[in-house]
Symmetry: C2
Subunit: 337 residues, 2 copies
């Protein structure tokens, strides 16, 4: 008998839930025979989109955490919400990982308060994957903490380097990931007290391939495989990059629309290049944002995820589970403590 890995899915999170969630889950189920899914949410709605229940269990609940709910309060009061029940399934070892496209703050709170921190980890951090915008266009880098914390100490940044290293090795297959510290200059003495101290911690940890300080423009050119930052700056940089990229695509479209017949003809001929640029900026192919430092994979896909984005994220979770990333992190930090 095959022992399958189980993913607890908040089927009601996201703009297009449960439809795109169900479709993405079925795609992952059809591809990975070693996966099973528990879908939490409105049974009749879920069933109306589900083609087959093979390896899929539905746990009915009417309660849903909305995008506007205050995260910590929602986790504490909406005990029967699809998100809380999915997180609880992981806590109770009924599932091995937790996935949602819903309220990010609530997912972080569920990860921290329900799934729980790995012993030895002070402040779990959110890892995002971003495209490298140079070279052949296949590159990517991880940024953490990209927003789980509003403030971080140097020791947290050191832990993010280790967490990010494990992720880059196990999920992205990078043997010796280059770790960079996000800073306002490349020289070792640069930055705030936090980054100056973090530099020392990273630089003296021989287990890390530390490449030094990296600036926010250099990370887009692939200066490091894993970029470590405090959650406030990491979040601001993530949003600035996403915002600039999407605004530029939008602006280019408008300029083409206003450019008359010649311009429109040009855009038609260039269609593949322009959509290539858009695809390049589409982060969903890398999967979702991962809360690292908790006892199981806790992963958030974008609220606007389509079925493909859901599928990519489940593929990413599958990889984390197969590669035993979390158990090995637990073991690493228990030996440190």
């Amino acid at each position: 008998m095959t022992v399958r890995m189980k993913i607890a899915v908040d089927a009601m999170g996201g703009d297009n839930a449960p439809q795109t969630v169900v479709e993405g889950v079925e795609r992952a189920r059809d591809e990975y025979s070693d996966l099973e899914f528990i879908l939490f949410g409105k049974k009749s709605e879920i069933k109306s989109y589900l083609k087959s229940e093979v390896h899929i269990k539905i746990v009915h609940t009417d309660e849903v955490i909305s995008m506007n709910d205050e995260p910590v309060k929602a986790i504490r009061t909406k005990k029967n919400s699809s998100m809380v029940l999915a997180a609880k399934a992981v806590k109770d070892k009924e599932a091995d990982a937790f996935f949602s496209c819903g309220n990010t703050g609530a997912l972080l709170a569920a990860g921290l308060l329900i799934v729980g921190r790995i012993k030895g980890i002070s402040r779990p951090g959110l890892l995002s994957t971003l495209p490298v915008l140079s070279g052949d266009g296949s590159g990517a880098f991880n940024l953490l903490d990209s927003g789980a914390n509003a403030e971080n100490k140097p020791e947290h940044l050191h832990q993010y380097a280790i967490l990010g290293k494990y992720y880059a090795q196990r999920v992205r297959g990078i043997k010796n990931p280059r770790i960079g510290l996000l800073n306002n200059g490349t020289e070792p003495h640069k930055g705030s007290k936090v980054t100056q101290e973090a530099y020392q911690l990273l630089n003296t940890d021989d287990t890390l391939n530390f490449v030094g300080n990296v600036e926010a423009n250099a990370i887009l050119k692939g200066a490091a495989d894993v970029v470590v930052a405090d959650g406030f700056t990491g979040n601001a940089v993530l949003k600035a990059i996403e915002g600039a990229a999407s605004a530029m695509i939008h602006l280019l479209k408008n300029m083409i629309m206003d450019s008359g017949l010649t311009g429109k003809l040009g855009a038609m001929l260039l269609k593949s290049s322009l959509s290539g640029l858009k695809d390049k900026m589409d982060q969903s192919r890398y999967g979702g944002a991962v809360l690292l430092g908790v006892k199981a994979p806790v992963v958030k896909a974008h609220g606007a995820s389509d079925d493909a984005a859901v599928y990519y994220t489940l593929r990413q979770i599958h990889k984390m589970l197969v590669e035993k990333m979390t158990p090995d992190l637990v073991s690493y930090f228990s030996h440190k403590g």
Copy 2:
């Protein structure tokens, strides 16, 4: 007799100095009859590019601060450098403003240590102007501190709001500039201790048109006219936006180059739209970065500035001088103290 305003120019700063500096100065001299210039640098080199010495004085020096010099050390030891002499001219009231395309750190040090802080200002901040990437494409916003400081207290951010407001009013002609606080969420309670306290200071200052917290993606859509941030985050966001924009233009170019004959034909037909996009991202038309909170306009243009960028920056300085921005800031903060 006309009393002309004098700008002290570090003629040797920047990649194309002194040629582009001299050319930009002459263009500004020809346009503004109320301006005079003192050019500091290698006299023979400067003269070889200069068409006319009307309203232009040259002060010869051989010493130059390079892009690789350690800023504070350079200011302290290279006493006869073109940058230090230009800053000293302002300190000694021989000039009303100080301009350079050279080493940013050295310019900041010269501004702080030689020109000096306005009484009542704790930590002068660097103001940058960035394009709003939505609407008709004519919008812009100011971001400060964009990198003069590695750490800031809430009171500094409050002062940046006031400094930025004066700049937006006097230079950009915005009557009641919308002030936003860069944060990791829009709700009032969001952020670090610094942003939470800064929020309170800004929100209770009735002289400010405070629009609340703004996120790094929203500022590109024009969420505020003046965006206030600590220098570490402001610097990271500035570099992330610049980096993402320039990388995307680069990526688009590569994709067009690789797209075969059809794609290249399309690009030809779209040429005006594509160069429009590039122009939109060209910050030089807004002038340079301004160190606000010191006793005179201290302005830095990009090291790669062409003559037009130098001219735009001198036009920006002219506006600050004509509008008496600095004297009015001095007066405002002396009444506060």
